[in-house]
Amino acid sequence: MSLLDVAAIKADFPIFAKKMRNEARLVYLDSGATSQKPEQVLAAERSFYSEHNAAVHRGSHLLAEEASLAYEGAREIVARFINGQVDEVVFTKSATESINLIAYSFSNTNKGSFALTAGDEILVSEMEHHANLIPWQQLARRTGATLKWFGTTSDGRLDLSAIDDLISERTKIVAITHQSNVLGTINPIAEIAHRAHLVGAIVVLDACQSVPHFAVDVADLGVDFIAFSGHKMLGPTGIGVLWGRAALLAEMEPFLYGGSMIESVTMESATWAPAPRKFEAGVPNMAQAVGLGAAITYLEKIGMREIHEHESTLTAYALAGLSTIKGLQIIGPLDAIDRGGVISFAIDEIHPHDVGQVLDQYGIAVRTGHHCAWPLMRKFGVSGTTRASFYLYNDLSDIDALVDGITATQKYFKV
């Protein structure tokens, strides 16, 4: 039961000064979709543009030198944050690009670890975000490989009962989410990675909902790749990360082709620079990388352990509060164990869209719909859910507001 000093934290985020509809304060419960940004991140981007802006890696002038130092400095910050090597960190535009990058690299070669042919299997789960599902469907389509998946139990956990059948010598890729963006479930990754590695499969982790919320150590986890987005962790939009083991990145084919990712080029062919460069074609999203660096510095100052404890407290409080509401069903684990601060629920006779709309009148921002996890919705027999998700700037009063808001919604719709 430990909580952060939310008032002090909120003061760093300019958006909380904004008045919402009906002059309400902002109760932002949509960090699972995207987080708000502290002044420190905005200032870092601004200072990049107004003091150091130039194309990195290509110039001998002072600004180019400073821009390169800032950009590569951000890479060091990211590497340290997840306990990886600097050259293992690739900047992309988003987790979506990071995952697609890996999937395309598999079809850009037919040699070595990244060869994939008919009969091979790709294993995902039923609780994947579309970003960690469709790229693999399409890779399967392009190569003739077969897509398989872990199911979900009715209480919203990964169903590992069929793991002995699902992970076999045919399994070449296991792509799985660290924490579900719908259920809040945190999956037992180390165990799955261990099983996958016994058959030589490559393990890709969708860390979009984990890296922002608790300490993720790539050495500990034992996975081969992780993907996450800056905008969900106080960073700017337009920046994502792909971390991959050095040996795999070295072997992997590039994805986007263009400037700065080459070793040598003729009209007929080209050879590639070493990783991470070979995956970063073109003038990169420099200011956004620098902004992400500032976001991580901010998170580290507060402390990832402290943030995690804070969110656990909020989650337990919210689970308790929501379960007092008649006609409300939580979709996902009912306890706060192995579970992050994302809570989806359904309310009898009121569609999520209508719930969201009424809550909005009280300044409460939640997400409604299928949350880019349509197969999971079908599994739970709903067309969508209402989802509240928490971060370091939320406190207990936000959850009280949510509970009151839902009660008011039920009254409004007379159910």
């Binding site: 509809r21 009906n22 569609h351 999520p352 869209h353 209508d354 709309q357 009424v358 009148q361 409604t368 719909g369 299928h370 349509w374 919705m377 067309s383 969508g384 409004y412 719709f413 007379k414």
Partner: protein, 145 residues
Amino acid sequence: MELDSLYQEVILDHYKHPLHKGLSSQMSVQVHHVNPSCGDEITLNLLLDGGVVQDVTWDGVGCSISQASSSIMSDLVHGKRVEEALTILESFSELMASKGSQQGDEAVLEDAVALAGVSKFPARVKCALLGWMAFKDAVLQAESK
């Protein structure tokens, strides 16, 4: 509260007691439309005969706005000549695009003017249009048969 302009009494009534919901077995065409951003779906059966909308029935899941709007739409076009139905649709689309600046012509739109408030909530316009777009698509398909 701003909300009352969105959820007018007549909308909540249609939502709780939708008209023409439940698919009839007789039809010229069946269409299925989804709203990809929220997952709402509608299946619509259209029976067209002699240039007249003989029957429109539908089924699906959706929010109060999309359900009420489909209910109102199906009742409104029922028995109308195709051209007239499309004129109503035109007029409704215009109302939805009006960003709160229009009230809607009650002579043409009848109950559908209750949806005027939706146009102030851009994220909800596609809810209100879901059934109408399905109807339009069905007409086009039926006519090109």
